[in-house]
Symmetry: C2
């Protein structure tokens, strides 16, 4: 049992063993190169959710570029798969095409979020790493978007790193920023993805000024202001909040940037602290609240004088839905649609095209998934999907294609949307939801998914 | 917004910004080197859980050894903290001591799972990375241990990588193995931690043999057996399970290693498939079941002819408790106990010693946490904690110390228990629980935690 540090540069072993044993069998049966289409989709949204947010696409493309079986990986696999398979893996480089929903796009049950085209073996080996990234990042972004809606314009800082795996924390900060959070406490996310970072002090800082003579909150505040300036945020609930606020303004003056409250009934405390600050002339000192906030707690504080929210546990655990539950399914082999048939897990075989129909106002009304090969523009227009069309008396509708090219011939395309693009795209997408789609309570998906089968001519 | 691959070798930026701003303020106030004691503990167990399992200790020690601020990290932090702090960080190397519960130890509310002693700055900077690892790994191991109990001796394979962050998946596989699972599908966990790996084929493999003439399950089975031998496990529910089993034995013969069922009512199907296999003479062919199993589903299949379970989503998400919720608190400064006092989050100040009392039979009865400085062996014996003692008429009890040395003077000690040691230690620990402690239903912690304050003399 070795105890060495996990190899954390390559991504090729972030893979389930069965993918390699399938490749081994496919090579032996001379089926490894059959042209296949794999699709990523979610059969359903997490219980009661109205929409999902696609996140992780950018990270998938990064992982793809690092997905190589070097000497170290090959050595590790010796004994697990046979030599012809090891030779194949050593030469592995994905050579196919990938299309997908933009990062930051809304999704619904059945939305074909990502489509991978290539040989059977080169496509099947990507299953785990693609799903791990999309399932985690989308779970976080989907929860975060609800928090942003609940905050109704007030900023939210992500500070949940300590409550999830240390590398997941970085992805979480990225996904939260994508969803509209303002900043993160996570410094690796700041370095790697340019997410704005924030943070001032914990209770430990105030406590560290205690001596045998007792606590000394004022000394702690003075030291923080000396280092970080009066624009900093002082944590006022280590001992007594009322005294803490008094000490904060006594030390910093009424120009203090902010105070943070991390415990107690945040609504009541925010009102008391606001009144106290105003009474001390600190009318522009902001109030930051944190402490086990989720989207419901954020919404419940809407009427209170809260300026900024800090969220942690609920965010990094997807607020009750820690995985998006997406699957990666083979849907087409050499042009033949295929689907598992033995259970309710029935899939729609065949490569798909996805469109989203919206009213002139921009409000979306339907996710449209077209299968059957005949999915050129003209064909779709025949179904009344593209351009102006009327359905169910809803008036004039427009539809737009949801997938964009991500990889061509194994290479990531040049103009893949950035994280900033994804953040903007989601903000626009949320505005396009029917009004009930932004409800926090449990409900159905905000729009339905309609399947159109258009057989190849 | 950069899009480059996350730096995934160093661990120093897996840190919340406020740790560095606190260091900045502490340096300026000349308080950075005050001798401090920080403790990791959980205020409570996840709702209804009877015990927790400490996991991640080995990974914390690995992360500690990689926790260095090199030129790249320092550049990233320029503008976030001042130059004196950057200089301090560039020289950073933890020089203190760490003690902790063994990896694989049970824990209860208030158990001092890890104790970090050193200067304020060198201790506070480790908060996030230590908590991230312990919170995630312990959440997974705690859920996994319940699944192992529910399986009552039958093997369980971990196959949840796709449902969590790609690196968390590796930690998850490690924690699951620690908790007693048999193997993992995750190849990086096999390489890095030596966890036994397993895996054969997915539905995609069977589907990939379809042609315009239709499906060909037999060809897929034949190819798999050709590559992996008759000892392999064939997935029989792609099309029709009854036909699948028939095809499997027709192709492999009655010596087939196993069949896997991944959908449907697994209890009913296991019985039908067992009868069918026996009827075909395949009496030693094993039945593997998978598909959204958690500890309750595993337990519900106890009476069925299931040989092996595969678990995924529920395992990697902690089966409803995706974080252990541990905190890292400053409890002592220059020998003075400190604690936050403004809320119900009240902590017990002062460094602690933890003991666990057990009957002669080995059944544990109490977690004993001693604070107050006077915690040398003799003092504890005075409280009736060490050696043979009688309490509440329970007869003769023994107590053992729970913390062991992990780091001395910044260096990991030589004989830190390995992953294999942790796995054995947990197996013994679970046997020591009072019988109600292994109940799957919601309940109270299996034993209570008693605090003894023993003031320094």
């Amino acid at each position: 049992m070795s105890n060495r540090v996990a190899n954390v540069t390559g991504t090729a072993l972030l893979t389930d063993q069965y993918e390699l044993t399938m490749i081994s069998a496919a090579i032996k049966a001379e089926r490894a190169d059959r042209q296949c289409v794999f699709e990523v989709f979610a059969r359903r949204l997490p219980d009661g959710r109205r929409y999902g947010v696609v996140a992780g696409t950018g990270r998938v493309l990064e992982a793809l570029e690092e997905f190589r079986f070097s000497g170290d990986e090959i050595s590790a696999l010796r004994g697990i798969v046979d030599e012809p398979t090891l030779d194949w893996l050593a030469d592995y480089r994905f050579s196919g095409d990938i299309d997908g929903y933009r990062e930051g796009e809304l999704y619904f049950p059945g939305s074909p979020i990502m489509t991978v085209r290539g040989g059977f073996a080169e496509g099947v080996v990507l299953e785990t790493v693609i799903l791990s990234i999309l399932n985690y990042d989308s779970a976080i972004a989907s929860a975060a978007a609800r928090m942003v809606s609940a905050a109704a314009g007030r900023p939210i800082i992500e500070m949940g790193s300590r409550r999830t795996h240390e590398r997941a924390a970085v992805a979480s900060a990225r996904a939260a920023y994508l969803a509209g959070l303002t900043a993160t406490s996570n410094l690796e996310a700041a370095r790697t993805y340019g997410v704005p970072s924030a943070g001032t002090a914990a209770h430990a800082f105030t406590l560290s000024f205690a001596t045998a003579d007792g606590s000394d909150e004022k000394a702690a505040f003075a030291a923080q202001i000396d280092a970080l300036g009066t624009g900093t945020t002082l944590l006022v609930d280590t001992y007594d909040i009322r005294q803490g606020v008094e000490n904060a303004i006594a030390v910093a003056g009424p120009e203090l940037g902010g105070v943070r409250i991390d415990s107690g009934d945040l609504g009541v405390l925010a009102r008391q602290v606001r009144a106290q600050l105003d009474g001390l002339g600190a009318t522009s000192t902001q109030i930051v609240v944190s402490g086990d906030l989720d989207e419901y707690a954020i919404a419940s504080l809407r009427a209170e004088p809260v300026d900024t929210y800090g969220v942690g546990t609920a965010l990094v655990t997807g607020s009750g839905a820690p995985t998006a539950g997406m699957v990666y399914k083979l849907v087409e082999v050499d042009g033949v649609p295929v689907a598992k048939r033995s259970s309710r897990k029935e899939s729609h075989g065949g490569a798909k095209r996805a469109l989203r129909a919206a009213r002139d106002t921009g409000t979306i009304v339907e996710e449209i998934v077209v299968t059957g090969g005949g999915i050129a523009d003209g064909d779709v227009a025949d179904e009344g999907v593209s351009g102006d069309w009327a359905v169910d008396g809803l008036g004039s509708l427009k539809a737009r294609d949801l997938q964009i090219p991500l990889v061509r011939g194994g290479r990531v395309v040049d103009d893949v949307p950035t994280l900033a693009d994804a953040r903007e795209h989601l903000a626009r997408g949320l505005v396009s939801l029917p009004w009930e789609g932004l409800g926090l309570s449990h409900g159905d998906p905000a729009v339905g998914t309609r399947y159109i089968t258009r057989p190849e001519k």
